[in-house]
Symmetry: C2
Subunit: 206 residues, 2 copies
């Protein structure tokens, strides 16, 4: 059985939803980022990087949302969560998810995790100040590229969808109005209506 280490509402939400959509045989184990559990020896033995998500498999531990999402898609082909037989289409999925991981998530992290890149409190304050601006710019870029829907890749629901949904859900918390991005907003609403998403949101709320 797969075991996902997650923190409610964090980036691990994408992997959690993907596992549920895939009807995978998995258990979800919370890691309390609020109390710093990810920096304690017990968790560092699972993921030395001290980050979530981590997915324990019978072969070993996988880290990084993008890698876990593709792994879930490839190991559960019946769920059709990625275009596994079309390298170009698969690369489009990967490019979208890489943008989320390396640009969008990074922009957001300058709010709560600015200390990764500066020590001076004034610099950290300045980085935090700019987060709504950079996140809005990221979402303007996403809005411009999104097809009419219903999903990120068009007709097919893929591992891009729970990953985008995760970041879309963070906008309200930093004062960025999601409704200014109509396609993103529509996507967010459609995601909220999916049975698998409802199951995961309920599980993470307990």
């Amino acid at each position: 059985m797969l075991k996902l280490f997650y923190y409610r509402g964090s980036c691990s939400l994408a992997s959690h939803i993907a596992l549920e959509e895939a009807e995978a045989d998995y258990e979800a184990v919370p890691v309390d980022l609020a109390s710093g559990e990810q920096t304690k020896p017990a968790y560092l033995a699972i993921n030395p990087k001290g980050r979530i998500p981590a997915l324990v498999t019978d072969r070993g531990v996988l880290t990084e949302s993008l890698a876990i999402l593709a792994f879930v898609a490839q190991t559960h082909p019946a769920a059709s969560l990625a275009p596994l037989d079309d390298p170009y289409a698969f690369a489009q999925v990967q490019a979208f998810n890489t943008y989320l991981a390396s640009t969008v998530h990074v922009a957001y992290a300058h709010g709560r995790r600015a200390g990764r890149w500066a020590d001076d409190p004034a610099a950290i304050t300045e980085m935090k100040r700019k987060v709504p601006e950079t996140m809005a710019a990221c979402f303007a870029r996403i809005e411009a590229d999104l097809p009419d829907g219903p999903w990120v890749m068009g007709e097919a629901y893929t591992i891009c969808d729970p990953y985008l949904f995760t970041f879309s859900g963070w906008l309200a918390g930093i004062g960025v109005e999601i409704a200014q991005f109509p396609k993103v907003f529509g996507h967010f609403q459609r995601m909220n209506d999916r049975p698998a998403v409802r199951v995961v949101l309920a599980a993470e709320a307990t």
Copy 2:
């Protein structure tokens, strides 16, 4: 024929080497980041994100190093640049490359591209100051995880290798001594000896 838009020595080097290793039918086209060519309409028509690399295929344009690297591996299976038939091993490759894209590259970007995340000049100076420290921490993490070699994934040369090589090559420029990471240093030297790497470095130097 594939067309790779690159800038010499930048992160596009990884895709450039992968194409050469794959013996792909490709053309490499320089984009002069130094003069801001990536922000001009001609290039934005290729990649609206204004970043390199971009790979023009007969189906459309692919962006993001991680996606391009996996695409090259999947479309050139004879080159054996990734464990294509083993989702777990493929996920390990992807996890390593995601760490490079979303943590290592981001740490480095706080030197030259700090303006992405702050406007105040003092904050930008502070972010730049910390870059050698964060990059050294990233490489200490990589050093701890690397197998004895010869390659990132052990015996098999994969798309992780040119990507790590690219970032290893940036350490000297920010005053981080690569020799303090013996496995990384050995990897860097082995990469420099590969015929495909020599061909690409010579091509980018012209």
